[in-house]
């Protein structure tokens, strides 16, 4: 059934106030990077509010309030130290003390996986608000990113102190450490944004992605050393970009050296291109996802 009933009636020209096309079937969002940054700047107060809400709301009911942001990572670190001194964690043959190795690797892994967890749910979190007001979704992405960075700063600083306790001696390369996390950050976010589309439209794939991300931890040298001989799995570990992205950041701290710098640069390039591509896809797909959103 194809009815060509549309005879577009353009508004009269002799109007004192010119009508402009505001919204139509061919409306597309401007996906240019300049526009994205401009939107984020225009909505900076909204983003600031969102960040405030998501950090404050978690501890709104508690008496200690934001103090929990310090207490929780300290407790986590203490548990680790206790387990270590009780000898539960069996030291293997790593150049740095094994507990320090695992401790650092898991927090870098956490940094990567948390930004994925924060972004993969971006359409469904926040209730019906998103169906009621016209928002730029860039604002929500910016909020997730800022909250993530804020929330990870405290545990990372505490973890660095614990590492000193584990006899790790830092060199000047520690100053490169925060920057070395950037590719992990955009890679995690890109995967999260892609999955957020599937979370609404193709949930099977989103569930699969969640599982795969959990499994990925075992394909990345986080709880074991990268040179472990594992045969077939070893191949997978070698082609896994996270091996290099996490390994590089870790070695900056524990050894003060660069882990596989050439492959690492390649992985950065990959993350970057993947990120740019995903953000484009996300912004084009966003209106289509919203109209299919049932809440």
């Amino acid at each position: 059934m194809l009815i060509k009933f549309i005879v577009l009636r353009v508004p009269d020209k002799n109007t004192s106030e010119q009508l402009i096309e505001w919204h139509s079937y061919k409306s597309t969002k401007n996906t240019g990077w300049y526009t994205i940054f401009k939107t984020i700047r225009n909505y900076s107060y909204f983003i600031q509010k969102l960040v405030q809400i998501s950090i404050l709301k978690e501890f709104k009911r508690s008496y200690l309030g934001l103090l929990w942001l310090f207490i929780l990572p300290v407790v986590a670190a203490l548990v680790w130290v206790c387990m270590n001194s009780a000898g539960i964690i069996n030291p293997g043959k790593t150049e740095v003390p094994y507990p320090a190795y695992v401790f650092l690797s898991t927090s870098i892994w956490g940094f990567f996986i948390e930004i994925y967890k924060n972004t993969n749910n971006i359409f469904l979190s926040g209730g019906r608000m998103k169906l009621m007001v016209r928002f730029p979704y860039e604002a929500f992405i910016a909020e997730k990113a800022i909250v993530h960075l804020l929330r990870f700063t405290i545990p990372f600083v505490i973890n660095l102190i614990v590492l000193l306790f584990f006899d790790v001696r830092f060199t000047w390369t520690i100053f490169l450490f925060p920057f070395s996390l950037f590719p992990l950050f955009i890679l995690g976010m890109a995967i999260g944004l892609l999955v957020s589309i599937f979370r609404v439209l193709l949930e099977d794939l989103a569930i699969f992605a969640d599982q795969a991300m959990g499994f990925l931890m075992f394909l990345t040298p986080v709880v074991y050393a990268p040179d472990l001989q594992l045969g077939f799995l070893g191949q997978l570990i070698r082609i896994n970009p996270l091996t290099y992205l996490i390994g590089f950041s870790r070695d900056l701290l524990t050894k003060g050296s660069f882990y596989q710098p050439v492959i690492w640069a390649g992985c950065i390039l990959f993350s970057f291109v993947f990120f740019l591509l995903t953000v484009r896809i996300f912004i084009i797909a966003e209106p289509r996802v919203i109209e299919r959103l049932i809440k």
Partner: protein
Amino acid sequence: MTDKNPILSVKNLCKKFSRDLKYNLYYGLRDIVSDLWRSRKENIQLRKKEFWGLFNVSFDLFAGDILGVVGANGSGKTTLMRIITGIYYPDAGVVYKSANKKITAIFVLGVGLRPLFTGKENIYIEAAMYGMTKKEVENKMDFIVEFSELQGQLDRPLGNYSSGMRARLAYAVALSTEPDIFIVDEALAVGDAIFQAKCFEHLKKYVQQPGKAVLFVSNHIRKVLKVANRVLVMDDGQIIHESTDVKGALSFYINNCLKHLDEDQRQLKLKKINDYNL
């Protein structure tokens, strides 16, 4: 009808929806894939399990109008408002508006309000949601407090507010954005009678300012009768009646809702409706 030129003009708007959840999601995915390759095109072919949520809807909104939009539940009123606001994209048709006119829509109330935060914090959150800056909110704070009549309550957590109080807060914030085109979609349903009366009074004054208009969506026939100067009747995604004779249009609407009944039953129903509503 003070001005002959529309400030908002909706032309041939169409929107498809899917009856079936799985098809709904599948079409969404297909649309995304096609959007990635080429720009959006007018798409007026129904696919399997689809129906028109809105079909060929056209109307003009003039400055000074309070345009009542009535229709049975599910007749496409909110969908139309969402397209005008820019949340949904139409499948065909265009929304024109005068340049520099601002649209603020307030749908079911309490959206975006955070129960654990105080009333005052929520004012900032809501206002930020509408794109206001901190300075703008602070300038408008007196107006919001005064209009919502919540003095003394603003330090309480919002979760403790009654739904009517939330309605006041949300409505006052939406109003403080000073929209040129103000869309009120069932937003006043929970406020108490005194507050509603005040809002209607305010709306009538509001549209007397130059270049302002209101789209008032409601099922409450009596309210529409009191505020609107023009009425659109929607049924099944189409505008079936448009008139400046508000009373006539409303009785047309009720009769249309009852059109499937025979004469005796209709009279009986009409009597009931009159008893309870008009």
